[in-house]
């Protein structure tokens, strides 16, 4: 009798989802206006940025992108960028690509502005690090689509939820790599700062951050790449740009259009990746090397 009772026992249904929905509803009820304001602000920022990028004649902008590539990485990448952006224009996805680029830039800037200070905090305090780590694990591993649901509830559809979901999703590697970079700075180097009487702030800005720069820039690179991937997915909730195009092609099963938009995303992705990666080569140490005339 007793044995069967134990065998039949199961964990009762835990209403985690309901509670989360309640929480979201409560936030929406109490801070709805606040979220709306943010959404509108983001919307106008992205719109202005996209307008700025599409305002000059397209060929001028293609040249600008190519020159930036030439300056940062050399002539090979300059030519590749020229051809890539020309191809974007040829596929009629230039305007969408510029909208996507604006979204990525804005989301990236916001994410970096949150991630780097959080990473520094985590590097300086073990307690903070222990608190930040599980949150970052959570943000990084929750399926991307899940972010869209609360984002839509708070921010409606369009640019707002896209940016917010993107920032949440792209945050983690920036925080981790910043923390890692600062923690990896040689202990003796920090002690040298201390031994000569530097304040902790001065050690941070004068020694730790410059020496952690390659790692921090790798984090920025990851933020940008994850932003691009999330911004495309955010097309599902009406965020404009290549994502919306891809989503439309997908729902209508338009093979050709889907392929073209896919290629456009790839071109943008490679361009952004190489540009941000080469920015990490412009770290303090390599700048000093150039000044000293060393390799």
């Amino acid at each position: 009798m007793r044995a069967t009772a134990v065998a039949d026992w199961e964990v009762p249904r835990i209403p985690l989802g309901e509670r989360f929905a309640d929480l979201v509803q409560w936030l929406q009820d109490n801070f709805g206006d606040f979220f709306t304001a943010i959404s509108e602000g983001l919307d106008s920022a992205v719109t202005s940025l996209a307008e700025l990028l599409t305002w000059p004649p397209t060929w001028v902008m293609i040249l600008v992108f190519a020159l930036l590539a030439l300056w940062l990485r050399g002539w090979k990448f300059g030519i590749a960028a020229l051809l890539g952006f020309a191809l974007l224009d040829g596929l009629d996805s230039y305007d969408s690509a510029m909208q996507t680029l604006s979204l990525v830039l804005l989301a990236g800037i916001v994410a970096v502005a949150i991630a780097v200070p959080l990473g520094i905090l985590g590097a300086r305090s073990d307690t903070a690090s222990r608190m930040i780590k599980p949150v970052m694990d959570f943000l990084q591993t929750v399926p991307q689509f899940i972010y869209l649901i609360p984002a839509v509830i708070f921010f409606g559809i369009g640019v707002g939820p896209g940016i917010v979901a993107t920032v949440m999703f792209a945050l983690a590697p920036g925080v981790r790599l910043t923390e890692l970079g600062i923690r990896q700075v040689d202990r003796e180097m920090v002690e040298a700062g201390e031994a000569f009487g530097s304040s902790p702030t001065r050690i941070l800005t004068g020694i730790q951050i410059p020496l952690a720069m390659p790692s921090i820039m790798a984090g920025v690179n990851q933020i940008i790449m994850l932003s691009l991937s999330m911004v495309v997915i955010a097309g599902m909730v009406g965020t404009p740009g290549l994502g919306a195009d891809v989503f439309e092609a997908t729902t209508r099963l338009q093979l050709g259009a889907g392929f073209e938009y896919g290629v456009s995303v790839v071109i943008l992705a490679i361009y952004l990746d190489r540009i941000t990666a080469s920015m990490s080569a412009k770290s303090a140490v390599s700048r000093a090397r150039r000044l000293a005339g060393a390799a």
Binding site: D186, E194, G197, L291, A292, A294
Partner: protein, 401 residues
């Protein structure tokens, strides 16, 4: 006037460090503290560093010497005990006061140099001055002088990575010297360098020290280095200081088996001096004595040679038994006709240098700064000095101190 005073200093790592220190204070032994999860790195350490001396703390890795050094400038807070710089207690200072103290009074040289890779050699050397708040022009000028002092003229605009290890450590030294503090902490400063360069750096440090007269606390695991550099040496083991003394004292009178085991491999010829291996010249003959008297003295004392001194006590020569007999046969009136010249050495001459001076059967005459004879070194004693350490205390007992 001691420059740095350390009293009953403890450093215990772990959450329950204070509890562990209480245990150690009430008699727990060793680094195995009674409190689990804690490690005692420095246990009940007391010493004084005198102004202007090189004080070497020597011990194997894990003996707590680097931890001890970092408590002297507060990079690691002490768990218990006091560190005092002149009349100021460091262990009672606020973080800001400690930073001010470091700016003005203490600088540090690191084992792996700890140069900033994103700053030029000149900017590295100027770092301490920059933190002190000096204007750009003045700090670069003073950094240039410090670099010139360590022999790095012309390398100012290079990066640390373009320099060899020895040169990098010179930059580290210049950075510490440029800060112009009276105390210099050196943490295994030459341990990462290869032996030839290390020797060169030791010489340079000694010659700089003669010019500058800083108070230096030098950490090393290398006993030969300790004995070369240290005016006094503290030997550490398992967080405790087992002996403090001059190089010779540690070599000739090791405090325990650990220290004597440790000094077994040391290059004794470079550390021991004539003073510590000499025999007291209990039996000399004045130069006015007759050869007969000299022979009698040799017979009574079973000596084969005897040193001849003038009226001021300065050695003028030595007489061998055979020469004395010859002199008697030729009816010489005084012994100086039979004497042969002896080499004179000062009491602080290293044993390694005595070998070249000691040729032939005659002993070496050891003299003080006034030229007065204070002892003789026989070749047998010279060889014995390089032998086992156990014999050393017997020999030095005869010396009055």
């Amino acid at each position: 006037m001691p420059s740095i005073q350390v009293e009953n200093l403890y450093k215990v790592f772990g959450r329950r460090a204070d509890e562990a220190v209480r245990g150690l204070l009430s008699g727990d032994d060793g680094t195995e503290t009674a409190v689990p999860g804690t490690t005692a790195a420095v246990v009940d350490v007391s010493f004084d560093v005198r102004s202007g001396e090189i004080f070497v703390v020597m011990g194997l890795s894990g003996s707590g010497k680097s931890t001890l050094l970092r408590m002297l400038n507060g990079i690691l807070p002490a768990t218990h005990g006091r560190v005092q710089l002149d009349d100021v207690e460091l262990t009672a200072m606020s973080a800001r006061q400690i930073r001010d103290m470091r700016k003005r009074h203490m600088s540090m040289v690191f084992q792996h140099f700890a140069l900033f890779p994103h700053r030029s050699v000149l900017q590295n050397a100027a770092y301490g001055l920059q933190i002190q708040g000096l204007g750009k022009h003045e700090r670069l000028e003073r950094a240039r002088q410090a670099l010139s002092l360590v022999g790095l003229d012309g390398w100012e605009d290079r990066l640390p990575e373009q320099l060899s290890g020895g040169m990098q450590q010179r930059v580290g030294l210049a950075r510490a010297l440029a800060a112009d503090t009276d105390v210099l902490l050196m943490d295994e400063a030459f341990s990462a360098l290869d032996p030839l360069i290390r020797r060169e750096m030791q010489d340079q440090l000694l010659s700089l020290q003669r010019q500058l007269g800083k108070t230096i606390v030098f950490i090393t695991h290398d006993l030969n280095e300790a004995m070369r550099l240290g005016d006094r040496i503290a030997v550490m083991r398992s967080g405790r200081i087992v002996q403090i003394g001059t190089a010779e004292a540690i070599l000739t009178e090791p405090a325990d088996d650990y220290v004597s085991e440790f000094v077994r491999d040391v290059d004794r010829a470079r550390v021991l001096t004539a003073r510590s291996v000499m025999d007291k010249p209990l039996h000399t003959v004045p130069s006015s004595a007759s050869p007969d008297e000299a022979l009698r003295t040799m017979d009574e004392q079973q000596l084969s040679t005897v040193v001849v001194v003038d009226e001021t006590g300065a050695p003028v020569g030595a007489v061998q038994e055979s020469d004395a007999r010859e002199a008697v046969r030729h009816r010489r009136s005084t012994v100086d006709a039979a004497q042969r010249p002896v080499s004179r050495v000062r009491g602080d001459t290293a044993v390694s240098e005595l070998f070249t001076a000691a040729s032939g059967p005659l002993p070496l005459a050891v003299v003080d700064e006034h030229g007065t004879l204070i002892g003789v070194v026989h070749q047998a004693a010279l060889l014995a000095a390089l032998g086992e350490v156990e014999r050393a205390p017997d020999r030095t007992e005869g010396e009055d101190r």
